[in-house]
Symmetry: C2
DNA sequence: TGCGATTGTATCGTGTGCGATTTAATTAGG
DNA sequence: CCTAATTAAATCGCACACGATACAATCGCA
């Protein structure tokens, strides 16, 4: 089916080759990421969210794993900025600005300039946005079940993929 | 950094949870696929190709691992159809039709209706398209080096990701 | 043979994605 | 202080990506 290790190694040794997409690591990631989006689609359709919108909402719901909202109760300016979210979901402002505007148009978030630094736009969940969290809470288990792998296997694979990603982004 | 196995397992057990993007498998694939595209960019810029265009050209160059062009010398109708390419790169015709038209506009391929079945459009490499293969042949080794992993490790990770993809696409 | 079902592409609308650039606000340095 | 450099968002242009739909060509079956 796929090109053998020996064949790949020989080709790399000669440092000049043509690979079919189904032999490429990058295509494995590319097609798997798209397959994941398709697996989420029926669940996200119920919520009226696209997949990247779901990632942004998940970041807000989790407080990006509680890095953002320490003291947010007292100080609304501790809500994440658009840049904070951009770093969490690894998207450019040129992608995120219109996406968040669509979330705002859907009534899930608000966008407000920070009073102390007017360059920043702080993103707040609305009541509707907070309520959606419970309606989305079943999704991870559904996806994990569809993956048909042990949770430990999924976590190991996730970490290996994250390691590869970080290396591709470095130097 | 990332949510622990214990935490994930507990959450899956309760079947209701909110994960931050950086804890999700799907986000690992999503962000790694984008990081890969960025790693290819400098090489593809030299060729004037986008990343999905490179996947299509790679499929043509490899004859999709020699499944397409048996006897193509004698019979030009054995060239891959748009549907053949769509299956290889796992894209819809609505994505591939304009993409291939751009490759045609760049002088890399031709599109011709099959005389025996006028529903199908057969895609042929032009001389310029064939010549580009040599200019792209160094790319896999450059990417593999940047990944900083043993080839065997890369192949194993690719196969695991492909397995996950196939499970997400099934049922 | 003829006609309904299927198949292969194409078209349209919406929503990403990113590079390049712009604008406004803040910071840093002399 | 005052200006140069930096930073945060936004804007624009182009290219995916897919669902829904349309349409023509072919197939299947009575």
């Amino acid at each position: 089916m796929c090109q053998s290790l020996a064949s790949l190694s020989r080709a790399i040794y000669y440092r000049a080759m043509t690979l079919a997409p189904h032999d490429m690591i990058c295509f494995a990631l590319y097609s798997a990421a798209h397959a994941m989006q398709q697996a989420y689609r029926p669940y996200l359709d119920e919520l009226g969210l696209t997949y990247p919108q779901y990632l942004v909402m998940s970041a807000l719901w989790s407080g990006a794993a509680e890095g953002w909202d320490r003291g947010a109760e007292q100080d609304p300016e501790h809500a994440p900025s658009l840049g904070d979210i951009a770093r969490e979901v690894q998207l450019e402002s040129s992608t995120l600005t219109p996406l968040v505007k669509r979330l705002e148009a859907a009534g899930l978030v608000t966008r407000r300039r920070d009073a102390r630094d007017e360059r920043q736009v702080r993103i707040h969940l609305t009541a509707a946005g907070r309520e959606m969290r419970a309606r989305a809470a079943h999704i991870p288990a559904c996806i994990a079940e569809k993956a048909g792998m042990e949770i430990g296997e999924l976590v190991r694979l996730r970490d290996e993929v994250n390691t590869l990603r970080d290396r591709m982004k470095a130097g």
